[in-house]
């Protein structure tokens, strides 16, 4: 099977002929790659060739830009670039750049033939209704904004949805991505960062505006939210979301329990990165924990949020070999 066929099969709850996909959905920390270069990984490798060199399947991701050139940046990490209606008006000319994705669309055109031939799955990412306003209000201001500027919040999400719908129309004129993610990060190690009422008031209308368009085109809709997403899954399902990643074990996410509760929901990630810091035995134990879910379909196992930089390259190679072993067992057994 081709890389793309495997991904499509798993995301449709069908068994690939040979094995599950083997991807690193979030790529690697630059620190991790630098450490591995010290340990023998070629420094000449272009980024997109790292995956196949390490024995993983290639996949292509596009993250659509939501801010154009000249847009003011935050004065400090996580800081605001606007505060209220007036300052939103001031930065509006820099937001939602109609030609911002032109380069990515051009790249999609170039890759279309290879994508059609199955060389790799393509996915795209959008700033979601929690994430995008956070990049405007700043991390702290954003959390206040639900109470301080509710009307403005709704306006921002209306503008965001309109922009994304326009850009996605352009994507679908070229090709059909296999899945997409809303970058959100709206959960943390103790669960959701906002209440269900807040989700329903602000995010649900946004998702209801954007998600049906994507699903109509056959692209699987997944939310990317770190931390413990358990409590939030029913909310996401009401919004038409079809799956989540990365399912961080360290935050307490119990994938087998989630699979039991949601037999038709898609999952990507879930492999506890902390086991990679220990040894092969710990990693095998982690694969054994995930194997029953791997067999159910609808799940692509992958590191639950980037390989830590202190994992030696040799141990990562052991991880990849084990991933291949279990990816095969999941379809054979």
């Amino acid at each position: 099977m081709t890389n793309r066929e495997r991904v499509q099969a798993v995301l449709s709850f069908e068994k690939p002929d040979d094995r599950l996909p083997m991807i690193e959905w979030a790529s690697w920390w630059d620190k991790t790659i630098r450490a591995w270069q010290e340990q023998g990984l070629s420094r000449e490798l272009p980024w997109h060739e790292i995956a196949p060199t390490l024995g993983l399947d290639q996949h292509i991701q596009y993250w659509l830009p939501h801010r154009g050139p000249g847009c003011p940046g935050p004065k400090f990490n996580g800081g605001p670039i606007m505060e209220d209606e007036e300052s939103y008006e001031a930065i509006l000319p820099f937001l939602y750049p109609e030609h911002g994705p032109d380069g990515q669309l051009e790249d999609m055109r170039r890759r279309k033939a290879e994508h059609d031939a199955g060389a790799y799955p393509i996915w795209f990412s959008l700033d979601g209704g929690f994430w995008f306003p956070r990049t405007l209000f700043g991390i702290e201001g954003h959390l206040y904004s639900f109470y301080d500027y509710p009307e403005l919040y709704h306006r921002i999400l209306d503008d965001l949805a309109d922009y994304q719908l326009r850009q996605m129309e352009r994507i679908y004129e070229i090709l059909t991505p296999d899945f997409m993610t809303f970058g959100e990060d709206m959960s943390y190690n103790n669960g959701p960062m906002l209440s269900e009422a807040c989700f329903d008031e602000f995010l649900l209308p946004y998702y209801k505006k954007v998600v049906p368009f994507i699903r109509e085109h056959g692209t699987k809709v997944i939310v990317d939210t770190d931390g413990d997403v358990t409590k939030m899954i029913p909310w996401l399902r009401r919004a038409g979301i079809e799956g989540v990643l990365p399912l961080e074990r360290q935050a307490g996410v119990d994938l087998p329990a989630l699979r039991e509760a949601y037999p038709d929901f898609l999952f990507i990630g879930a492999f506890d990165k902390m086991t990679m810091r220990r040894d092969a035995e710990a990693m095998r134990g982690e694969f054994e924990r995930l194997l029953p879910v791997m067999k159910t379909g609808g799940f692509i196992p992958s590191v639950d949020h980037q390989t830590p930089p202190d994992v030696p390259l040799e141990r990562y190679r052991v991880y990849v070999a084990m991933l291949e072993e279990y990816a095969s067992r999941a379809v054979r057994e």
Binding site: W29, N77, I139, E140, Y144, P192, S195, C198, A251, M274
Partner: protein, 218 residues
């Protein structure tokens, strides 16, 4: 004492009504209620309710933030009066996100919860070196150093903080608390820190207990 008014302060604080809380606190002062009583039975009791609800996921981060903002508005009115009356904080904590780590939502939440329990907090911000934690604890007479980390790549700095505190000879006077996504109880024990808590509200409970036990030990 007008307990109805104190309850009103507490309830408005829980709803995050900062302006109302400020007005009600002023009204309570004008009615002659002791500042200490307004603080403890109006503001801190409201923040306690929020803390408990936060632990059980009945309220979430935005609700904690707006409640804490309301509390701070009320405390602003009381501060000079509390100082005049010689009311002291439950204890003093220096808190920060460890060196190499710029994530501060968790740290800020813990800070707010500490303040909601009546602790005085020295906020060192993010990317804080072990030396800064220890020097601040010494210079500002803090009973607790509270370290936060989000990244697996930075959690190791917490061990350095413990070592620096040992080298500085303050481990009998200063307790070290840790928290954040990549750490747990086992890690806390491994590095020789004193307390790990899984969430901000529990951290505040634990900090108050630590300050009381240190006080009791003299």
């Amino acid at each position: 004492m007008n307990t109805e008014l104190l309850n009103e302060i507490s309830e408005n604080l829980q709803r995050g009504k900062a302006k109302v809380v400020k007005e009600l606190v002023q009204k309570a002062v004008d009615e002659g209620i002791e500042p200490d009583a307004i603080l403890k039975e109006g503001l801190l009791s409201g923040m306690n309710v929020i803390g408990e609800k936060f632990k059980t996921n009945e309220v979430y981060v935005p609700e904690v933030l707006v409640a804490a903002r309301a509390m701070n508005m009320g405390v602003g009115v009381l501060k000079p009066l509390l100082a005049e009356a010689g009311v002291k904080a439950e204890g003093k904590v220096c808190i920060g996100t460890v060196q190499g780590d710029l994530h501060d939502i968790g740290k800020n939440l813990v800070k707010l919860m500490f303040e909601g329990k009546g602790l005085e907090v020295v906020d060192l911000g993010t990317d804080v070196s072990p030396d800064t934690f220890v020097q601040t604890a010494i210079e500002q007479n803090c009973q607790i150093i509270a370290c936060s980390a989000l990244l697996t790549t930075t959690m190791g700095v917490m061990e350095e903080v413990v070592k620096k505190a040992e080298e500085a000879g303050i481990r009998d006077k200063v307790k070290i608390m840790i928290g954040g996504a990549p750490v747990d109880e086992a890690y806390c024990k491994k590095i020789g820190a004193d307390v790990y808590t899984p969430d901000a509200a529990s951290a505040a409970d634990a900090a108050v207990e630590l300050c009381r036990s240190l006080k009791a030990a003299g």
